[in-house]
Amino acid sequence: MPLFEFLRRQPKTARVAKERLQIILAHERAHRNAPDFLPTLQQEILKVVEKYFPIEPETVKVNLERHATYARLELNIALPLQAATG
């Protein structure tokens, strides 16, 4: 009933929609331009490093950052404590 519509409290769902979109799109844009070979590269690096250190697959992080005039390939491998000291 339109007559009593003002009595019903309207939740402001549009604001929730906006915030959810901002978060998910920021995440998706960051990964959008990653080339298709990155997962393969990650696998191959993992194999090489595994020959020398016992590591878990998820400890290898490969990231490609694009800047205006150059791109930076970042490798981040967390080694177990004994491997690094031994």
Partner: protein, 271 residues
């Protein structure tokens, strides 16, 4: 030189074909020679919206395969001069559409038919048909609704335009992007239950070409096969006419962003 403009969205059902039909008819009505191509191979629908479904003899794929000439396949609109429609094929073979074939048809529309504008009505999704519809584009009209999934998909399509289009691949000036928000309901925006234009603009970050209000007339014009832009004074028709004028460089402030003022009776008893 003709301008190739893709009408795209990612998500289905947001108003791509409605927009393609009205934008093309609006340009042609203003004296610009315009062709509109249905890229939705297997799910031909632009012909229905344009009201020329019974005049389809040959289609886009027939032309690409050399079974018909482009001149045989193009349908000349009976209401508006300067308007050509190239229907999609109903074949289930999606690979029938090729990059070379599409390029050849666009080249012919430009050089033999002297089209000023070529509107590519993209299928939904990000598969081959959608990719080929946007590949040759100089400009893109990204259609979205004030709703989370279509805004997200619009963002995805913007990413594809900036990385996979011919202009991106060949390092030319980027595809010029325009946003069209369809099915806008100002009353619900004011009530806080629908994303507003500023929210959408802020999230997608591309210039607004038009805002089309939710209107029952859009369904009705599709029932009779007349692009809504040719349908007189309905708010959606006004919004599409504004959009065409704005595209052609005229100053047309956005309308239908405020709820219609309702009289006391309407407010009490509903519309």
């Amino acid at each position: 030189m003709s301008k190739v403009i893709v009408v795209t969205s990612g998500k289905g059902g947001v108003g791509k074909t409605t927009t393609s039909a009205s934008f093309a008819a609006g340009l042609a009505k203003r004296g610009h020679k315009t062709a509109v191509i249905d890229f939705d191979i297997g799910l031909r629908n632009l012909d229905l919206i344009m009201g020329c479904e019974r005049r389809v003899v040959y289609d886009f794929i027939n032309v690409i395969n050399g079974d018909a000439t482009l001149n045989q396949a193009l349908i000349r609109d009976k209401r508006v001069d300067n308007l050509l429609v190239l229907p999609a094929s109903q074949t289930r073979d999606k690979d029938a559409l090729t990059l070379e074939g599409v390029g050849k048809v666009l080249h012919e529309l430009e050089h033999d038919f002297h089209c000023e504008y070529i509107i590519c009505d993209s299928p939904a999704g990000i598969e081959k048909g959608a990719f080929l519809a946007l590949y040759f584009a100089d400009e893109a009209i990204v259609v979205t609704n004030p709703e989370v999934s279509s805004v997200r998909d619009a963002d995805r399509i913007l990413g594809i335009l900036s990385s996979k289009s011919r202009r991106a691949v060949e390092g030319l000036d980027p595809v010029r992007e325009h946003l069209l928000v369809a099915r806008y309901d100002a009353r619900r925006v004011v009530g806080g239950e629908m994303l507003g234009l500023d929210d959408i603009k802020g999230i997608l970050g591309i210039p607004i070409l038009g805002v089309v209000p939710e209107s029952p007339a859009v369904l009705q014009s599709s029932n009779i096969g007349t692009p809504i832009v040719l349908d007189g004074g309905d708010p959606a028709a006004v919004a599409y006419n504004d959009m065409v004028d704005r595209y052609l460089g005229q100053d047309r402030p956005l309308r239908f962003l405020e709820p219609e003022k309702k009289g006391l009776l309407k407010r009490l008893f509903g519309s």
